[in-house]
């Protein structure tokens, strides 16, 4: 109405527009720098190997890795079509991830609920956790054979401990008030577990899934290294035996791509499972 209110409004909309432009510029800068860094690393690698400063036989070079990937893609690998190798490793990883997560949640919740159980089993679990766990892959390769079961078992062992400790901690740190409230409202022991303890521990458990999927992949690949007939780990192992470093790098690139795709799925799962949490600022997330 008055002159002052009109005056007060214009700077506000200006400010909003300016902020928006600034944010857009920042996004472009970040994207540009990201791309630039990637190009610089690959170009540096390619150039130094071409000039002979770094030995391409030992360290390979991006063009050779790309050529290898193209060859695998179009003509298949020594072990068979590329998609089959990816699928095998994916199966082992997902299998180990699912088995390990389910066992981890069950044991974590059970021990978190029962003081006696956690006192009795505690030292054993800590002891088992202290073993460098990838070595169990060797045991499983002998005991379960060279097929998918030994890889799933190795991956599951790696996943289990991460999920277990998070589930245990999550159950232990449930807000006492929530438990008291549920009991007053009429919840018995079983409802207390399903309605309060598990939902409350879920954010801990889900947070651990990001780490544990990576570990499941480690388990699957290590399992393949101990002996396998197919899979990306076996592909890398075979390439290593032929001194084919381009093949090793190509296998690594495929594993990284797989992990990134899985990460996107887990983030989507996380958003579904814990939609009751206030959205966190995404700025600091990588």
């Amino acid at each position: 109405m008055s002159a002052s209110s009109v005056q007060a409004e214009r700077p506000v909309s200006d400010l909003a527009a300016r902020r928006k432009r600034e944010a857009q510029r920042r996004r472009l800068t970040v994207a540009g720098l990201r791309l630039g860094l990637g190009v610089a690393i690959l170009a540096g690698w390619e150039i130094t190997t071409r000039l002979g400063w770094v030995d391409a036989f030992f360290w390979s070079q991006p063009s050779a890795v790309a050529a290898k990937l193209w060859l695998w893609l179009t003509q298949g690998t020594d072990l068979g079509p590329l998609w089959e190798q990816v699928l095998v490793t994916m199966e082992e990883t997902v299998g180990g991830f699912v088995v390990g997560s389910i066992l981890g949640v069950i044991f974590g919740v059970a021990l978190g609920r029962s003081r006696l159980l956690s006192d009795v089993l505690g030292p054993y679990i800590k002891g088992a956790n202290a073993i460098p766990r990838v070595v169990v892959g060797a045991l499983f390769a002998v005991a379960l054979g060279l097929d998918i079961r030994s890889k799933i078992a190795t991956a599951a062992v790696l996943v289990f401990f991460v999920v277990f400790f998070n589930a245990f901690q999550g159950v232990r740190e449930v807000d006492r008030n929530l438990i008291a409230n549920a009991r007053i409202l009429g919840a018995g022991d079983r409802l207390l577990t399903t309605e309060i303890l598990i939902p409350s521990a879920l954010s801990w458990i889900v947070a651990s899934l990001h780490t544990s999927f990576g570990l499941a992949l480690v388990g699957a690949v290590v399992g393949e290294l101990f002996g396998a007939t197919a899979g990306l780990g076996e592909l890398i192992y075979a390439a290593k035996n032929n001194f084919d470093t381009a093949g090793v790098f190509a296998g690594m690139a495929l594993l990284a791509a797989m992990a990134l795709v899985a990460e996107a799925f887990i983030t989507a799962l996380e958003n579904r499972l814990i939609k009751w949490r206030p959205p966190v600022a995404t700025e600091t997330r990588i």
Binding site: D175, A180, N181, A182, I184, L185, G186, A187, L191, W276
Partner: protein, 268 residues
């Protein structure tokens, strides 16, 4: 008539983490009539909340007897509602699921629980917010959810532990008036713990003053102010000031004792 709540010679001790024994309540006697609105005031750390835990059955008494409607309390009984000081609504449930929790836990079918919950949500003025999660609500709205969650079970006894202490002054007096309206429509006895004497007098029929810990009842006062009350205005009545002065004389000494102790232990 059987009193709604009777505590006789109740003592409550806790083990401290360092292995010592801490006496929260000592030889406490308290009687609450059916339908009575009682306030419990006392200095910080005098065991006010412990009293509620004993009545609800969340904690057993170390000595003495706790009776609810004539029968001794053994574990959590039916017919008790409890509104906690901190937010105790379930953060992963929507408003509707939170309010429906009580009936569902007691075996009411999902559709009936839902229907009753919708009714209570509208009674506490939260219609339209059924699908929100607690983090999307203000502090006052979360308290309304907590109230509906307790009242939907039709408690004969409603225990409230400084329920409004985290709210701003305006929201608080609105909530106090609504609590009185909801209580008047029910026949429940209320035990309302607070450290705010004004709040205690404006809400209740009777005020218990608890001593500095270990807590015991120092005195109890009948509040003979007329009902229905408007808590925002009742404070201006001359009779309110008289009652306030009388109780404050009692309470002041206890507050001072507690304050001195805190200062000495370096907590103040």
């Amino acid at each position: 008539m059987t009193p709604a709540i009777e505590l006789r010679g109740v003592t409550k001790r806790f083990l401290t983490p360092s292995g010592g024994v801490y006496t929260a309540l000592r030889d406490l006697n308290m009687t609450v009539e059916p339908g009575e609105f009682c306030a419990v005031v006392g200095p910080t750390g005098c065991g006010k909340s412990t009293t509620l835990a004993l009545i609800s059955g969340l904690e057993p008494a170390s000595e003495g007897e706790v009776d609810v409607f004539g029968s001794p309390v053994k574990g959590i009984a039916d017919g008790i509602g409890y509104v906690f000081q901190a937010d105790a609504v379930f953060p992963w449930k929507t408003v509707l699921e939170n309010v429906a929790a009580g009936p569902r836990y007691r075996g009411v079918s999902n559709s009936d629980a839902r229907e009753r919950a919708l009714d209570w949500i509208s009674r506490v003025g939260l219609s339209g917010f059924e699908d929100r999660f607690p983090y999307q609500l203000s502090g006052g709205m979360r308290k309304r959810v907590a109230l509906a969650q307790s009242l939907i079970n039709g408690p004969r006894i409603l225990l409230m532990d400084e329920p409004f202490s985290a709210l701003d002054v305006q929201t608080r007096s609105l909530m106090e008036n609504e609590l009185l309206a909801l209580w008047a429509a029910s026949s429940a006895s209320v035990v309302f713990v607070t450290h705010d004497l004004e709040e205690a007098i404006s809400l209740s029929d009777r005020v218990f003053v608890i001593t500095a810990g270990p807590g015991t009842v120092k005195s109890n006062y009948k509040v003979d102010l007329p009902r229905p009350r408007n808590v925002a205005e009742i404070r201006f009545q001359p009779r309110f000031a008289e009652i306030y002065e009388e109780i404050w004389k009692d309470l002041k000494d206890e507050v001072l004792v507690s304050y001195e102790r805190q200062k000495r232990s370096g907590a103040a």
